[in-house]
Symmetry: C2
Amino acid sequence: MKKILVTNDDGVHAPGLEALIQGLSGLGEIIAVVPNQERSSASHSLTLHHPLRVTRVRKDIYVTTGTPSDCVIIGMMEILKEKVDLVVSGINNGPNLGDDVTYSGTVAAGIEATLRGALSFAVSVASFRACRYDAAAGFAGRLAGYVLKKGLPEGTFLNVNVPNIRPAAIKGVQITRMGKRIYRDEMVRRRDPRGGTYYWIGGKEPSAEKGSGTDCAAVARGWISVTPLQLDLTDYKSIKGLRNWRIKYP
Amino acid sequence: MKKILVTNDDGVHAPGLEALIQGLSGLGEIIAVVPNQERSSASHSLTLHHPLRVTRVRKDIYVTTGTPSDCVIIGMMEILKEKVDLVVSGINNGPNLGDDVTYSGTVAAGIEATLRGALSFAVSVASFRACRYDAAAGFAGRLAGYVLKKGLPEGTFLNVNVPNIRPAAIKGVQITRMGKRIYRDEMVRRRDPRGGTYYWIGGKEPSAEKGSGTDCAAVARGWISVTPLQLDLTDYKSIKGLRNWRIKYP
């Protein structure tokens, strides 16, 4: 029987977790290892300086005090000691489109699983408002079947974003590239009750350059976006130009 | 005069900070905005759920309660309100080679700066033991001069690793690609004084596949490694194969 590890960055109480478990049911044994609280924007951080606690809260759900990446490590090394066939992260309440992936705990879980040699994908509903999970859950189950059957290239995983609309309204599935996000962060500066200054990173929802073929464009037009992402960040195009600098040391 | 923002993930007390400030001196106005404690493996995490405090501890050094990415945002938006010409992250005590970059707070600061349109590089001394910073500081100053003069392609930044040897022993500079790390993590399971179980992510130093042209190979052989990294994680080679799956939804 296939062994599927589920994690997320919205924590154990997120409705997307139960929806994902349901969406994957029938494909194998499903075990969830998730943070005890929301860990959005946790990115690929690891907890190296503190001990981690793990509590089994249901037959198929373990809760940890760590990040999504910690959950993948605990799930793969400690809980599902046998080979894990697939790691699915989500369903995230909020988009992971374009440059969002560099901040995302949901996507970081996919990176961690890929580093450890497991097949993996991350799935998000692309709305900052209350999300519905039916289409994302249904598609996650279907995609998991394909990935388990066909595999993925070494070092590659999938980042899935689903529009926040009813399943019947979805136009179809597009294989996309990462788009560009335009962040509109603000540093909010305030005074605390004792007169000290503090800052809070705030700002409006990011917008996107909706270039042709991007994840941002696909979701904006009502399609499910599936983007293959890789661990290798090398900008191969720049290597030759940098060699021409002929920079020397010592 | 050029404005250079310095940050790190080893915190304000790290010797690599002062070495980097010295290495860059003479190139422009240098302002450091750094975490108040070590933030290794913080990755590209942002502090969205807590307020951030900022304290000026020296004319040119600000300390924050945030991550390296938070420091870049605070430095660029709040402290150096004018255009920042260059963001340099480091000098990290420890390698950021191969897949290390996905965990690295040092590299994440470079990602954040690049997302915000600044030129940037990250610099690390590739040793898990006590590091010497003279070669890394000297090379950082030289590289900063090149980057300020020649620029970098949009969405690209540089990841620099320097061997932990005296400057005169360094063989030269190689422009490299990201190598593959082999992590040897262990989950250490222990009992606390009250009998509860806790876990700690431990393990040995990672090894590396020292493939030709990689950062890992260059540093192991005594060269300074400069790797151009990009924000776009798309695995373009896989797009066609995935389209051939012809996966449908609904």
